[in-house]
Every structure is written in C-alpha cells, then in structure tokens.
Amino acid sequence: MTAGVLPLTGSAPRKPRRRWLPAHYWLVAPALVLIGVFLVLPYFNIIVMSFRAPAVGAPYAPGFSGGNYLRILSDSYFLGVLADTVFLGFVTALVCLLLGYPVAYHLARTRSRFRGLLYVFVLSPLLVGVVIRTFGWLILLSGNGVINRALVDLGLAERALTLMNNRFGVTVALVHVFLPFMILPLVAAIGSIDPNLEAAGRSLGAGRWTVFRRIFLPLSLPGIQAGTILVFVLAMSAYVTPVMLGGAQVKTMPVLVVQNLIDNFQWPMGAALALVLAVTGIVLVWVYARLTGALMRGVQ
C-alpha cells in the first residue's frame, strides 16, 4: 500500500491531521491483512512444507529434500490416481456442459412467471451442504437404494445394480453438485446473445441445428469456457463425494492428500501431492484456455 502520501497543507476547513495512511485505506486494511496473512502466506507455506523430510511421530522432520516429489513422479500408483482424478474432472465437466446447455438456454430465454423459482432450482444444489447432497445420492444409488428397489420391483433388473462405490456413482453426484457452476456462466453468455440473430438466421433458411452451430455455439463460447474450467477444477479437488460414494474403489488425489494428512500424519507427502494436483490442474486449464481463446478470436 502506498503509505507515503503527503499530509494536506493550506486552507482546509478543518485542521489537517498528519496521517501515515489516508483514512480510506483503513477500510480495506482488514481484508488485505486477512487475505495476506491467512491465505497468501499459508499457500507459500505449502510449498515449503512439500520439501520437508518425513518423520515418524511428528508431522515432519527438520531439513529439506525433494524426495516427496521424486516418489510421486516415479510411482505408477500415484500417477495412476492423478490420471484418474483428471479423467473424473474431464468427464464431469463434459456431462455438466451437455446437461447444462439446454437448461441455460431455457433459463436465459424463458419469460415464465416461475423464472425466479427455476433459478432457485438451479441454485439449490449449491445452497445445500455437500454432505447432505451426497447423502441424497447415497439413498438413491445404494445397493438397497431407491433406484435399485424400483428397478427390481418393476422387473427391469434381475438383481440390484452396482451404482455406487464406483466411478459411475461418483460422477453422477459430482455432476449434480457442480451443474450450477456450469449453468450460471452459460445463462450469462446466452442471455447476452441478441435473440434477433437467431430469428435472422432462421428467416434466411438455416435449420435449428445450423443456427445452434453457427450462431449460438460460437457466441456462447466464453460461457462454455468459464463453466467447463470451473467444473473441471472443482470436480478435481472434490473430497467429500469421492469418499462417500467411491468407497475403497475410487481413489482421487484429494482423498490421498487427506489420508496422508490425517490418517498417516505425513504432512510433507500430503503437501507434495496437493501441489502436484494443483500444478497439473493449472497447466491443463492454461492449455485449455489458450485453445478455446484461439477459437474465440476466430469468432470476432
């Protein structure tokens, strides 16, 4: 912050006081201190922690080494979990896009009286805690759950299907949890497309599919980009849903990280795993943003 502002002199109505910080900076000081001390500093500290040596009976030992990273990057188990986590994020983002686009279109264009209510519907998974949402899917997907009961009772399945403790269950619940993060940016993007463009395209003889492909898709790319990145990152870093619905079968990076931190008490390893995931995520998002950015420039 620029603290060295000259004190006012001259004919001010009230006697000017010397201040080392102009008064209005005090407004923002608490927020900056909070973020600086309890967010920025601790994030740098994760990096330091990831280079610590492991210890027995304590979170970490004195001294530094790159051993944690070497272990992660040379162990096919860790790399497999990392690949699974990225794949889970990718599939979740893709399914969210396919389900979310039509809903976003509807929400952006509808003149229904119930628009506000529909908004609340879309927001509802966000407003209910993640444990509760996942609990809902537990009731639906478990071996003796609502869906399996219905399938067996209606004679559609001979015996209960395995709908959870596998990737399927985790993906379904992740899509549910993060769909709002896809729909909201899409609504904003589609809402800003002039409806006349659609009418013009149609009147010039373009079919619905052509109008979508040539007009909507390119113009809503910013929303698609924002939504997919958000969902990808969120799904990759989700902890509760993979733990509750994945059982022992689905291991993702956040699950491994928490295991290392809480159960094994191996903080340096946990920190290194978390950073490997974060860096992977950042690199992938960066590449993706470059690619979609090039596409968007093509539109303008």
Binding site: V28, L39, G100, L123, F135, H176, Y239
Partner: protein, 275 residues
Amino acid sequence: MSAGRARRGAWLRRPFRALPALFVAAVYVFLLAPILLIVLLSLNAGEFLAFPPQGLSLRWYGALFGNEPFMRAIGTSLWVATIAAAVSTAVGTAAALFFVRHAGRMRETLRMLVMMPLMLPEILTAIALLFFVYATGIGTQTMFGLVVGHVLVTLPYAFMNVASSLYNFDRSIEEAARSLGARPFTVFRRVTLPLIKPGIITGALFAFIVSFDLFNMSLLLKGIGMTTLPIQLFDYLRWDFDPTAAAVSSLSIVMTFTIILFVDRVIGLRSLRFG
C-alpha cells in the same frame, strides 16, 4: 382457446418439438430429486430410509432431538457460522466501500484478492491453513483457525453483495447530508448504511449459509469438541444409515430455503450475488 388447441395439435403432430422441453424438465428433476427425497424420507414412519415411505410421522425428529452429538454439532455450527458471518460481513463491507469508491487503478487486483478464496479449491486452502496454524503455534486447540477458515471462504459473498448494492448508489444524497453539516461518521451511519442495508443483510445471510455447510475447512481445522454439523453427519453416515440423518439434513435444508425465501420476499433475489 383456439390458439392453445392449435399449439397442442402441432405438439401431437411433431412430437420431436417436445423433446427439448422434456430434457430440460428432466434436468430440473435431477437437480431437485436428491434434496426432496431427503426431506420426504425424514418424515418416514418406518425403520429404514426406503422409498416410498411407510406412512408419515415425526418420530425421527424426536430421535434427532434426543441425539446428543447431533444437537451439540448443530449448536457448534450455528455458533461458528454466526461469528464467521459477522466478521466477514464487517470486513467485506469495509473492503467493498473502498473497492467501489477509492480503489482506482488497484480495482481489479483488489477484486481478485478478495475473491481468491472462491477461486481456490477449499480443500487446498484448508490444508494451507492447517500447516500455518501449526507452524505459528496457533494450533487447533482454540476455534481461531476454524473461524479464520470460515471467514476466508465467506468473505467473497459479503464483499460481492455489498459492492453490488454500492454500485447503484446515488452519492448526491451523501453530499447533501455533508453540506448540511453532518460529520463523515454521521453521514455513514445515517445515510450510507441504511441505503446499503439490503446488500449487507443478503451478504451476511449467504455468508451464514455457506459457513453452516462448509465441510473441508472444518474437517482439517477442527479441534477437539468442535465437531460441526456437516462433520457429525459425515461421521454418522459411516456407521448408521437411518432417517435420523435425513431429519437433521432436512432441518438444514429447510433453514437454508427459509433464508432464501426471506431474501427473495424482503430484499429481492435480484440483488443476490452468488459467486
């Protein structure tokens, strides 16, 4: 009337036209189903979390109120959420005032900084804070680390809501008060504050909801005897799977939607900023 019949006729002749609408409706059902199911099954008279419920009763709410760990966890969550909402609203309101009125060229940087807890994965922030409170000796014996974590995550909600109410603010009203001799603090208390009150209340309520539901932060930063409701529910579901869990979840859901309804009725959801 005739127009309606004509439309219905077209619908019958071209059933494909109805497909998009059906798809959208199905997605809405998908979004709501798990949540509605929990509320429905919490009223189950039977022993199990089975659908359809075997009669309606409030027996599981009775079981919930007799469940000591759940009641204590609800108390802890209410307490933590209240403190976190109060602190983040105060800090966020002040920061929003600076952001809208004085930030100048720092504007984008400041916005990014304050919104950062929303952009960063909650679990990563929780890990960072865990290491930090350990390294600084703050530890998890007190609620401090837990509350700071909740404040960080809820700050963006308070900030966004107050900032958006400051955007459509007619500053000439403040000028008028000042020219009539009001001191800066009086202007703030008597003019500014009442006008941005809707934004502050919305922000505080959302901060409260978000904090009440926060899981990852609490998982890593809770000390002994600081089990919040989401943590308690998570632990409970590992061993038990009965409608008590549905009852406590329903209470939380109903609380949230009551708050949303209140915001919508009294302040208007249009002022809502979520993310």
